[in-house]
Symmetry: D2
Subunit: 303 residues, 4 copies
């Protein structure tokens, strides 16, 4: 895709100004109490599946800044009763390992964040002041829809480098018999982590399965609230001249739609297949990090 | 309360062996798909309220180990497009500031964890091997009940040092018109944070409002799944000879019931009062920290 | 001191251009192999005294961002022999607690660093590119001179708020019988830590003993290489209109002279007094932190 | 080497009891003011060479727990003048990357530390209480001797797996014309980092050049104070039945001799060769980490 075509797509999916010149919530505006209440009806069995991976403290090709986990005290010290075991955790969470949310201020495209705000004006050395994770303090409670691309394609996983377009998404939904609705959280399974489990880790920075840019037009037209994937939603190489992560630019910057990266969709895929339905009550509760660009998270699918 | 009386209470509320000699999930066993599905019916408006505080990076009397939040990269570096703003967060989260979950392995009473397992045998310098936060990987989805003690007492807050007994809890529920059910998550508001907001921070290690030990017998008898509070549930001074944190010992060690400390119940109190009901769908999703003793969290009340 | 007078003093002590337009080593240029070799002769007994404090992991009025120290492994884990005990340390080291070096890029005055370089052009979110601690990779080996102001004044300490001028420094040197030489590291004792030990910690951000701005002219004229103090060298309130830390601005920005803050000069004061001389071989070896603005340090006085 | 032979060697080089049953300083006892003063005479030109590497924040085969370096503030925030650039550094410093000191409590052999003290009794979850880095608070000031093994062997580096015995050390010293004296710090260059620079990083945990166990008898007989290397002094595979790191066990546990791992000896090798002498004033100043098992360091060779 050449730069001109990408720019036109950026304009087409842009939500700049849609909810006001000062809006910093983006597609979260698509949710209201009514839609949240409706979403609770998507829970029909009460089964819960975590959509996160265990935090990984071991470095590797896709985990260059491993999470920190240290005991800070054990019950071997302290005089009284009871005694405590305590620990420290630390995360440089963006990257290819930690299951995390990207807030809107995470992604600057040509110096701009969502709604046209300047990145340098909105994020300083102490944190962000616009489009931060604070906007998600009350979490995301919505109907979640899993789109299982490898299942539809009858493969174990999409090979790294594959970019799924809108037709692929629509076809997979049809194969599943899953309806899309405005206000959905859409979770796209590429099989990234199944491949990793079977073949070992690799560096997905330059080679990953994800979405084709055109897919964002469909997500925009269908009023998607949040997009998540078992990779980071971007296919690489991106196929777009001069844009390394077009999905990030289109989602976070143009649409104002948060992303969830590095989801664990393996357990959910099994559960959805067993249940014969791929929609559920989705709950995400980012940590309340003032000025944060995102958060490590453990999203839940309540079937 | 003398030691003998406390020991008898410990025995009375103990769940050791109740779900098998090897059980490490404790009161989470009270939840099943059916109860979770029922709990979704407690959401009746779709309003969501965060039950966490903003993470606090500034040290103070109740925050001796402040949370770390550092920018790790801004859009001022990097060659391609888009560019990113990223950050690091770190938490020594137990204590009196961070809203956090205590997993069962957090609390050792006389060398024992829940189910009689030795603390030194179950927690080493790399983390825990029993009763860790891993047991809560699929979160807690349950009916939540807020017990607003200051509201029932007609005061702004319970003075630090106050210990609420079972009669206080029952009376407050009656005043609210709230029914208790097996499988509930019980959240006890003492007004701790309202006092802090109005009078300033203090060190609650030695002076705090919370529950009287006898209240645990009621929580046990009513099959409570998780207990949370705007303090850490313990009143101090504890009033129990030789036991500084009797609620922690009774909940975590005897009952195998996780605790949530330092909740933000101010917004929920307002919302519940406005709605005229104090029950809701409660969702908690701890981070998946292998071997962790707990997790910073942002629990949600979905009214 | 009004702004005009301060600006004139800034010009008077400025070393901008003195060692070339591209220089980023500042007063370190005053040291060469010859002066270092001469400095070794200042060691006359072989007694060594640490000039650092123990790192403090407990927060307090002068330690709002306490150092982190966690065990990462103990000999309770691991299969083979030998087994190891290991730990993690972390420092947000600038501030009033950690004994640390300020590299030149630490201090921006009206947007400029030493030699007129723009701060925003030289320090980005990944670290500094000019005047960083890398310039001190080979340490500072020099003759050190302790100026013990409370000793000369016959007091336990200078009261916070006191600003010592050039006459005070010269008089204290004369009382000690200590000669000043070009290329010296000058360490100024105010008794800050003795006061802290006796009266308890306070927040020195707004109330501290240190140097008067005029003292910098003397340090400049005498070709001082590094200035250190048991406070952070600045007296506060500063007495300079619109400048909160004039010594930092004059030393780091104008002169290009590194500072060492929060030194432990109590042990050295005792040792020097016992030896009857206040000069010694001084060795400082900052950690090699690429792009760092300074380093926690443990400077040594070798008498 | 079989276990019996190793045990006999352990006994032969043991300093347990040599400086008293309660001693925790080990070979540091070999230094006194007189020897330190003599050591200053080893500085004959005033040239200083850092013996540390730059801290490495990028993970790799020999850097699984990369150092943390984050800006905590830049001059873009703050209202007054001057403004500051500040940063955070963190180290899980043991391992194969950071230049660091091993204090005696780092190494437990069959449950015992130096002088026969139990590791579990001396190190708890808060830190060590015996043989910690506190014992080195006044640093190590000594005559340093570089033994350049690749130079003597006429090779670029010793191949990983090579174990240098006492004859190799003595021969290299003779080739250099360097005399050994009691109280020396001995630095052994294997060329580890030159190999790394030319061939790329590898995991030295299982394949490294170092010393043969017998070399420790010579270091013991010659009253060596500290041993350092560009690896971690251990050759691997170790060649000793059931002992993975025999040099660590013999040095730290038996002899009570601190180790310095991951030294940068490349610059020093060039400087010593140019100077035609391989001895110098050596200064090491570990950070004052209470209860620490070691410290990241930047040792200096003052030629």
């Amino acid at each position: 895709m050449d730069a001109t075509t990408f720019d036109a797509l950026f304009e087409r999916v842009s939500n700049w100004g849609r909810w006001g010149a000062n809006d910093q919530r983006g597609t979260l505006n698509l949710l209201d109490d009514g839609r949240r209440l409706e979403a609770t009806a998507a829970a029909r069995s009460g089964q819960v599946v975590s959509l996160a991976h265990d935090l990984d403290t071991v470095s590797g090709p896709d985990n260059g800044r491993p999470a920190l986990h240290y005991m800070t005290q054990q019950a071997d010290v302290g005089g009284g009763e009871p005694r405590v075991n305590t620990d420290f955790v630390g995360f440089d969470f963006h990257g290819k390992s930690v299951t995390h949310l990207d807030a809107l201020c995470h992604c600057s495209f040509r110096g701009r964040l969502y709604n046209g705000v300047g990145s340098a004006d909105s994020v300083d050395s102490r944190g962000g002041h616009f489009g931060t994770v604070d906007q998600l303090r009350d979490g995301v409670v919505a109907r979640g829809v899993l789109i299982d691309l490898p299942r539809a394609a009858g493969v174990g996983w999409l090979e790294p480098g594959t970019a799924a377009g809108p037709d692929d998404l629509v076809a997979a939904l049809a194969a599943q018999g899953t309806e899309r609705r405005p206000g959905d959280v859409v979770l796209v399974r590429t099989g990234h982590r199944r491949r990793r489990a079977e073949l070992g880790a690799w560096d997905p920075s330059n080679l990953s399965a994800g979405l084709a840019p055109e897919a964002m037009a469909w997500l925009h037209a269908t009023d998607t609230v949040v997009l998540g994937s078992d990779g980071d939603s971007d296919a690489r190489p991106s196929g777009v001249d001069g844009v390394e992560s077009p999905i990030h630019a289109l989602a976070l910057t143009a649409m104002g739609m948060p992303l969830i990266d590095n989801l664990n969709l393996e357990d959910a895929a099994v559960a959805c297949s067993a249940a014969g339905r791929w929609d559920f009550l989705f709950v995400l509760a980012p940590l309340r990090i003032p000025g944060g660009t995102g958060s490590p998270v453990n999203p839940l699918a309540i079937l």
